[in-house]
Symmetry: D2
Subunit: 349 residues, 4 copies
């Protein structure tokens, strides 16, 4: 059994880790920290866990995280970089669900996140935890930077096309929509029910932190300079993310070839479902599951396939977009089957 | 034109007052205070008011409230009692949307609201602002205590029966459901979208502040001691309140007589709609309007009308349950037509 | 492995059975019938099942249901009674999620459901499938009548009190609230998003089919004549049911004794969670899980515990209120652990 | 007073016309037809209209529409073309909220709407009812084709840029999102609450009927051939439409110049609100009002304004996107103030 610690178990990615790990056959939940809720049984905060999780939150200083095999950081940015060095030194593997180690460019990190990076020596060592594109590196990693939710959808949608040199990397447009849980469990006016229900809006159009992360990762797969317009929107639903990705084809290619390209790319990926051409994936088909589904569309122009390709991508932002993906990485890091403990079927309706 | 001031214009009852008063034909909006948002144009906080309200928030000390004809307090409990004495002394009428003057029993107020009452000399003078039961007193009032949202539904549902001595006042059960806006515009975890959407729960079952208010008002209409069980619930909708009121009949009375009783009681009330017997009123039929709708049901027992009467009552908690009722009171206080500026049709769908 | 057939797999209880059974360790999904969708892969209708269920719907005549060990009827009323006799004769166990065998009183069935009962000889043989109250009978049953969703909450809330002769059975009031999925997957105006979102209403107050079922079952546990007022309401959420049960105490009993009574009653019930006294259970704490949670409240009157007891009960109407309960029965009928394949943790948020 | 008839008053655009016209100071509601609901009081179907609308539905043959001054068609496609010729011949003005007269290209109409056009002689005479771009023509029109909801947002967002020859008309991308009421009041599975709540999806990506309408209208303002990618999505909210419009700038222009262009274009338009540069308009800021709000964004590339312009446009799809716009046209056709009876403030929260 893998002894698991979770730092910051009170937020949504924390409770989602608990939901997944409490029934994972190879995991023993060992410690859950929360400075604020020290001593409170986890199930008192989250009654959904009554009967499943008997741990109480403990303050970080009391929790013996160094006795764990792996520690997940479900914390705001800046926490993992402070605690990871000591844990790694003690032989504990670390998976950070925040952004501390997502950007290889330290200056870019400090510019976008407005905090100094206090463990720059670990940046190179950190492995970007997107298994579909980085599987082998993750297997050998001690420190994994779990991807952002939006970047997961954009990378899995665009990368096959970039690798095959089929699209113009300089004119990508990603129009993305997220459920409200993506904003976290924070007491903020803007995400109150009465503010965000029965409403739709864009936000952060001037610049969202997931842009540099995505651009840098996409750049790995093309020699052309990547230029990406990224427009996030807030949807009045709890969970779910839908990315509508636009790419201009730069080569003559048939719809069947495009479909085959994606199917080949993800043939062995247990959590990417390439739907039939021209499908309309729904976010609810992934609710509570670690599955990401995508489908290709190609609008006709004057009766013939045009040069604009649309990739529709859906996932549960808290599972494949966060905690599920982190567990998927853990499975790889410990030599387990990639999908162990992650075979939940989406809750529909 | 009536010069109107609003203290605390940033909350939901405040912005709802603005929506109603900005198009009221006899009102001139004069001052809107907010300590926190001093200087901010109201329409910057509430874009729905762009083009309709040109005022900016001003801090309470700068606003010349004493030059108004009437000041509405859309504030937390405790603010009106501090400022009302000076305004009243200056000849300004006051309508308090909070609870400062709702309870005639000062000790009860201090017990339920946990603050000392600092203007006890005004308690007797204050008129309870439920026009359907108190119309004449409101016309002559300088200080009006606008009722709570739940109490409005319970009083308008039970009072005709109490006045006609038809029910057992000692076994009333009110199972009430409110939309989330009733909790106000406060940065609290429990009313986040991700916490309260797709969810239903009771709250405050052990004791809600609207209980003593309702009991005291109902007691005015019966010699029997009123005993009321009041169970509030939170519904995942923004606006709307639905009260399911149970009363045990103490006399032999036909359904037609019961229906006639309610129709007679509210014949001249422009904002109470007695629907046909056995209707199922929907909250959305009142969304954005000042109308309260109710309908009677009487389940059969062994094929005959039983002795349990059910009164279903719906309203928009922010309009008839708060700001609309306050404007209705203002109309009466200034000798205007009771429904002036309040004839909005509900938004459906 | 138990070979399982499902008749009527296109509705919500059908797809929910599929979600649960597809990962049940002792089940082999063998046949799913739908006259209308004959030949359509199940996962084409429900993309959430892609990769989990490879069956296609088949028309009832083609499906070899008699080779199954058990057949679930997730159909409208009237279907199970037509097909059950032949299946039972062939040695196949039957679990009906509709009402065909819930009422022992055939005349009452025909009155409330407006269809003649075509298999009256099976009514006596059918076992009412509420494991917490009927566990031993279910173990030996060939034909199980799975309870209605509302009746499950009312029975589990009231029965311990009736058995202990602590309440007045003649004045029960159940104010119940259900998510919209309880109305099924039917093309009806009233359950459109634009009709039922951001709205709340009561329905069927004059008489709901779950009333005679509940009354008859409660009557088993008391000598007093049961009289129950049952008011169902529609909540703008997909899943979830919240019953607010009122009962008048007929004996002097302390809160601690009441709490102990419920804890003792459900000590060995894996799917009933008796929460601490005065808790407010939320429907979301059961979303997607087979757990039913309940909590007791007792409002004070004049500073002392009153004689009204309130029992708050929540469940997921599609799981414990329907398909999960049916699987729980199946486990018992086949000698498996009662909770096998049913240990899903609720999806929160 | 203008005598108004409505054909097809039972759908959402019909009831929205009633909400707006019932309080319009120059309108007398004269006839509302519905073959199916003949004889039913309108307020029985829509309790929100109780006390405001006393008419009953009448079957089309009984209603004396030819005595009206203007008739609105809130019907499915194909109805207006059948009845308009006789009404126009009788001197009655006609406003069609469906698509019968939106496309000047008859062949395109028949291709996209799959029905033959039975009144082709009226196509040329019909005026496209988008007041901001067609005001003078509407004033003199007898037959108005009210625009589609999506096309209204796309035209008001793109046209100022096309007129000023600032963008590449051949690479427009409109990523649009609509509330569920846009699908109408039809008994269809896909728009049930349990199907569309807590969910997000694209639909009709392969081709939506609003595409040819929009392209044709945009083409009027540019010599370049318009090519538009249009991706509609369904948002779990009742009302509201958000269009995220992408356009590639073809000239060197500053943000201030772009902002000034839009402000000048809509200076005299009472229902277009050009918000400050880089605002994030919310759909709820238009809920129930006839206002359309838009804002410009221009993502930076390498620290300088890039060549991609984003126009965010929001409206209430049932008001400015349908019935409100129709009333706005009526006002112009009858020489009234353009905003008469349309000054509703949006319902927020």
């Amino acid at each position: 059994m893998i002894k698991v610690g979770i730092v910051g178990g009170t937020g949504y990615t924390g409770v989602e880790l608990l939901r997944l790990l409490a029934v994972h056959p190879q995991v023993q939940l060992t410690a859950i920290t929360s400075r604020k809720e020290d001593g409170l049984p986890v199930a008192d905060l989250y009654p959904s866990l009554r009967g499943h999780v008997n741990l109480a939150f403990s303050s970080p200083d009391k929790a013996n995280l160094s006795e764990c095999d792996v520690v997940f950081f479900a914390t705001p940015h800046g926490v993992a970089m402070a605690q990871a060095p000591a844990l790694l030194a003690a032989g504990v593997k670390v998976i950070d669900l925040a952004a501390d180690f997502r950007l290889k460019d330290r200056a870019a990190f400090e510019q976008w996140y407005k905090i100094p990076h206090t463990a720059p020596e670990l940046i190179d060592q950190a492995v970007y935890g997107l298994p579909e594109l980085n599987r082998e590196d993750i297997k050998g990693a001690s420190l994994v930077a779990n991807p952002g939710c939006y970047p997961t959808t954009m990378q899995l949608g665009y990368t096959p096309l970039l690798k095959a040199v089929l699209i113009d990397a300089s004119s990508l447009i990603a129009d993305c929509k997220s459920g409200v849980s993506g904003a976290g469990r924070k007491a903020e006016i803007g995400i109150l029910f009465s503010e965000s229900s029965d409403n739709f809006k864009a936000y952060g159009v001037a610049g969202h932190r997931h842009l540099p992360e995505t651009t840098a990762q996409l750049q790995r797969f093309t020699e052309q300079k990547v230029s990406l317009i990224f427009t996030p929107h807030l949807v009045p639903m709890i969970r779910g993310m839908h990315s509508t990705l636009y790419a201009r084809l730069s080569k003559d290619v048939s719809n069947a070839e495009l479909q085959a390209l994606f199917e080949a790319e993800y043939r062995d990926a247990p959590f990417v479902d390439v739907m039939p051409f021209a499908s309309h994936p729904e976010t609810r088909s992934t609710r509570g599951s670690n599955m990401l589904r995508l489908a290709l569309h190609r609008p006709e122009v004057d009766g013939a396939p045009g040069n604009m390709l649309i990739i529709l991508v859906v996932q549960d932002n808290l599972v494949k977009g966060a905690s599920g993906q982190a567990v998927q990485c853990m499975n790889l890091m410990f030599g387990l089957e990639e999908s162990l403990g992650l075979k939940h079927i989406a809750l529909l309706p």
